[in-house]
Symmetry: C2
Subunit: 198 residues, 2 copies
């Protein structure tokens, strides 16, 4: 079913290409936008255009940045001897939000996933290896707790260990505020296996 106005059909088509937005949500958004002021739509549209115009990837860590080197990599107050390896740029934000980590990052841009045809050449493994100079003291692996994330962590540790750099992985276990009773078996098993001495 098509609307009587072409521009509406096109906008619905474009919006429903976005992840998590189906045709119904796209329709709702378009009818909302039709009621907005021209300025509001214009600032939304231009903010999207600016994403590609202004955003680039940091040439060191591949985090999103508005300059060649991101503010974390160029900061003097960060510890450049520790590199935290994450899957995507939004994981950097998640870790920054803790206010606990003062090292730098390396964004892989994905995880190894042979079934999807994603091998070490498709993510930024080579770029990480090039950063492993004598200055680096520790690599912290902070992949998601998925099968692919674990596989990527194992793969990377096999490469990095022989170089003699300390390598660690963020802990798996019961989330803060979590109840033993309601924790799934996999998480609980992992929490037991990775228990720490007091």
């Amino acid at each position: 079913m098509q609307y009587t106005a072409d521009a509406v059909n096109v906008a619905i088509e474009e919006l429903s290409k976005l992840p998590g937005i189906g045709r119904k949500s796209a329709q709702r958004l378009v009818f909302y936008l039709l009621k907005c002021e021209k300025d509001e739509i214009s600032s939304l549209a231009h903010s999207l255009l600016d994403l590609k115009e202004k955003i680039q990837f940091c040439q060191t860590c591949f985090n999103i940045s508005d300059s060649d080197i991101c503010s974390i990599c160029s900061s003097q107050s960060r510890n450049h001897r520790i590199i935290c390896v994450v899957e995507e740029a939004n994981d950097v934000l998640a870790i920054e939000r803790t206010n606990e980590y003062r090292g730098t990052y390396h964004v892989l841009g994905g995880v190894l996933s042979p079934l999807d045809g994603i091998g070490p050449d498709n993510i930024r493994v080579r770029e990480l290896m090039q950063r492993l100079t004598d200055d680096v003291e520790e690599i912290v692996l902070a992949m998601n707790a998925s099968a692919e994330g674990e596989a990527t962590a194992v793969y990377l540790s096999k490469f990095i260990k022989p170089i003699g750099i300390k390598i660690s992985r963020i802990a798996r276990g019961i989330p803060m505020g979590g109840d033993l009773e309601y924790t799934d078996e996999l998480t609980l098993a992992r929490a037991l296996a990775e228990r720490v001495n007091l």
Copy 2:
């Protein structure tokens, strides 16, 4: 918490203004867009800009249209003696999808809602009254089955009945495929009250 890149923060801010899109969804959309080709973002952004540039409201029925008079109002194959009154332009599409209605429409652009300060002057009641010439045979009220929709239907029928035009309201009842057992009491009561003779 802010991203290291300003353009990302702005885009997240703009997207999370949309209905049904929170900060988390906006973040996800922005990171999806960052991975898209420039062309894709550009066609999305321009489709949004076109909404205000190209879309206007039909001067007769206030449906969305790309010309002064929409394709339904200007069509010779529609019955211009029947006007179906709906709340919003997307309701027109819902009724068109049935392929059962061959009359014209009138889009109110809202419903009466005294609590929100929306009175008869804020929706297109006067414009509807101006269309009630001798040619019009029937007004079909097709408001949503909400308290405000019902109130608006009652208000309009009070005005239109004295003119001597036939006025009807779409039926309330059990939806097709609906089970009596799982139908809520209000709907079932309405279905009983509005039973039809066989």
